[in-house]
């Protein structure tokens, strides 16, 4: 199977869905003539033309809301945020409008829109550009939120998002854009709400999402190599809907859980996962549930400091040893 980058996987997902459905269009800052701030949308303007691949002004509230209005009428917009950090000036349109209109209309209207872009720290751009807002968007009934960790997942989940009839927030990662994974040439879709066991194990469950899955996999390798411990790595993939059954099944099997995320810890995604485990697997636990999240501080610019903020395999490894 051929390997492609995460960037190319996202590009292919958009292109395939635009080819499939004329009502799908892409808009965002620099997505067309510039070929994407991170080159994710390279070649799409040439292929699909300016009617469907649209450069917007720097006006996130305006074009996010315009997308919602177009989706009400039946178009299927893909709205790119250059980073999810910039979605904060559009949050009214995402939460009050995209998420709530269906409910407030008693089901008369639905909003088939995708908001996508990278959401990560780790690239020395300071606090304003390093937000990981999957927890706050996942807090909102009416939204779906997915954080694919690999090129394979990114392609399959973005295609699902574009065909979905509700607003979906797809959170990518600029650090992953250059990474390569095997991706089949034949079409495939990945349903939401299905976690993926990225490594099978019996001794401890490492539950992660987004790029933190890679830290969890590396920690699992270290546990095996250094301690002979078999860790299971569960990639949530989708935050809302959350695959509670797979989480619970894994923890009931291993009796131990370490939750890994680049999200901030306070009211973060893994606070919810931790609750799910105590609610559904309490009697199976042999140790307290531990979390390895980003540090509870704003993202620093300094490279050395920022590396300390984000979870890494070493921190995950040490945390696992503490409860084994």
């Amino acid at each position: 199977m051929a390997k492609i980058t995460y960037r190319k996987a996202v590009n292919q997902a958009i292109a395939e869905e635009m080819q499939r459905d004329d009502n799908v269009f892409l808009m965002g800052e620099e997505v067309a003539e510039y070929n994407g701030a991170y080159k994710v949308t390279e070649g799409l303007l040439d292929r699909f033309g300016a009617k469907r691949v649209i450069d917007t002004p720097i006006s996130e509230c305006g074009f996010a809301g315009l997308g919602v209005g177009a989706a009400m009428y039946g178009l299927r917009p893909i709205v790119e945020f250059m980073t999810w950090s910039f979605s904060l000036v559009a949050i009214d349109q995402i939460i009050n409008n995209a998420a709530n209109i269906r409910y407030m209309s008693g089901g008369l209207i639905h909003i088939p829109i995708v908001f996508r872009g990278p959401a990560n720290g780790g690239v020395n751009v300071g606090a304003t550009h390093s937000h990981t807002p999957e927890n706050y968007y996942a807090n909102v009934p009416g939204l779906k939120v997915v954080c694919p960790a690999t090129a394979y997942d990114a392609k399959g989940m973005l295609k699902t998002a574009i065909r979905d009839n509700d607003p979906v927030c797809v959170m990518e990662n600029t650090i992953l854009y250059n990474e390569e994974w095997e991706v089949p040439e034949d079409e495939y879709l990945i349903p939401f709400g299905q976690a993926d066991i990225k490594r099978k194990g019996t001794d401890i469950s490492l539950i992660a999402h987004g790029r933190a899955v890679l830290a969890a996999l590396e920690a699992a390798r270290m546990l095996k190599d250094e301690e002979g411990i078999e860790a299971e790595v569960v990639d949530l993939r989708s935050i809302r809907p959350l695959d509670i059954d797979t989480i619970v099944e894994s923890v009931r099997k291993t009796g131990r859980a370490v939750l890994v995320e680049e999200n901030k810890p306070f009211c973060g995604v893994d606070a919810q996962v931790s609750h799910v485990i105590q609610d559904r697997a309490f009697d199976y636990l042999d140790a307290p549930v531990k979390r390895v999240s980003a540090l509870d501080v704003p993202q620093p610019y300094n490279d050395t400091l920022e590396k300390m903020v984000l979870p890494d395999a070493q921190r995950v490894y040490k945390t696992c040893l503490a409860i084994l």
Binding site: S59, G62, G65, L66, N96, Y103, S105, G107, H110
Partner: protein, 361 residues
């Protein structure tokens, strides 16, 4: 009164109205059509009076913003639209809802929070919707609907339809960033959206002079090279004439526009408003320009309406409004299961968590 003194005081003279009435869009109206426009305004007025009564009886909760005094804006502007034209508005939405043809029953029942309401009791006063009638809400956040209006216009153009979108907002919404972002996109991309500022001179309790720099408000369109106009929003004929012109430009050239319709609300911002920011004298003075009285006088002068016919229309509207209140009163509450529907269209993976919540009720 100084805060509200502007151009609209009075094209209400017989001559002014007569001149406007000559515009083709008004001249071609039959007597029956004119009476129907009058009837629509009266229906809104009586509906709102019953909603106030029901609110005072605590049968309607939350916020309730009435349209009394502004009826000519919604009725006049919506009356010139065609099959591919669309409407979206803010939270003061009862008038637009009735003007697009929603029934008093479904609207009143929604105010009562009943299952028979247009949103099954889940939207309330500020969130009426009727997509089948090209009516896209009913939006509670000030200015939040303005990008949606641009999006509806974008979709119409994308799909090659000749329609346009009327997007209403209050004078308080003109200072929201969302509105300015929408204007820029509409002008930049030539979207057939017409922003109608319903200027009733108060953003809640803050007068226009205390909240908005620059006058008239519609002039802000100039920054975006967009057409604009200031209109006597109490004069139904003038509203129709100016809206029809803008709609034609939108249909032919995808031209966006801002129309500022100067009007007045005779009641408070919402039902809980003690109205300390304006005098009773000011309100009484503005009632001299009551759009319903003005249009009734015009129709009487034209000889298409007499006192008896006007009274009959009024009695029918009262009876219809009362019947809608009775209907709402007798309608069932939404069942608890309704909590968990209409959140997602594709909810296969979410049913389990919704069901789990239901079981705990």
């Amino acid at each position: 009164m100084s805060s509200t003194a502007t151009a609209n005081e009075s094209t209400a003279s017989a001559d002014g109205v007569g001149a406007v009435a000559l515009a083709p869009v008004n001249a071609r109206l039959s007597a029956e059509e004119k009476i129907e426009l009058f009837r629509q305004m009266v229906r809104i007025r009586r509906f709102e009076e019953f909603s106030i009564r029901a609110y005072q009886q605590r049968k309607i909760g939350g916020f309730c913003h009435t349209y009394i005094g502004q009826e000519a804006v919604a009725v006049g502007s919506i009356s010139v639209l065609g099959a591919d034209d669309h409407i979206i508005t803010a939270y003061r939405d009862h008038g637009h809802a009735l003007a697009v043809g929603m029934t008093m029953n479904e609207c009143m029942a929604e105010l009562y929070g009943k299952y028979t309401g247009c949103s099954k009791g889940k939207g309330g006063s500020m969130h009426f919707f009727a997509p089948k009638r090209n009516f896209w809400g009913g939006h509670g956040i000030v200015g939040g609907q303005t990008p949606l209006g641009a999006g509806l216009a974008f979709a119409l153009k994308y799909l090659g339809k000749s329609g346009c979108c009327l997007c209403y907002l209050g004078d308080g919404a003109v200072n929201q960033g969302a509105f300015h972002e929408s204007l820029n996109l509409a002008a930049l991309w030539k979207l057939p959206v017409i922003y109608i500022i319903e200027n009733n001179y108060y953003s809640m309790g803050t007068s226009q002079t205390r909240s908005s720099a620059g006058s008239p408000l519609a002039k802000r369109a100039e920054a975006y090279d967009m057409e604009w106009d200031v209109i006597n929003g109490n004069d139904l004929y003038e509203v129709r004439e100016k809206t029809e012109q803008a709609v034609r430009r939108a249909h032919e050239d995808h031209a966006p526009a801002i129309l500022e319709m100067q009007t007045y609300r005779f009641r408070g911002h919402s039902m809980s408003d003690p109205e300390k920011y304006r005098t009773k004298d000011e309100v009484e003075e503005r009632k001299q320009n009551d759009p319903i009285i003005l249009f009734r006088r015009t129709l009487e002068e034209e000889g298409v309406l007499d006192e008896e016919a006007a009274e009959t229309i009024d009695q029918e509207a009262r009876a219809e409004a009362k019947a809608s209140a009775d209907f709402a009163d007798q309608s069932p509450e939404p069942p608890a299961e309704e909590l968990f529907t209409d959140i997602y269209k594709d909810d296969a993976q979410l049913r389990a968590s919704l069901e789990a919540q239901k079981q705990k009720l």
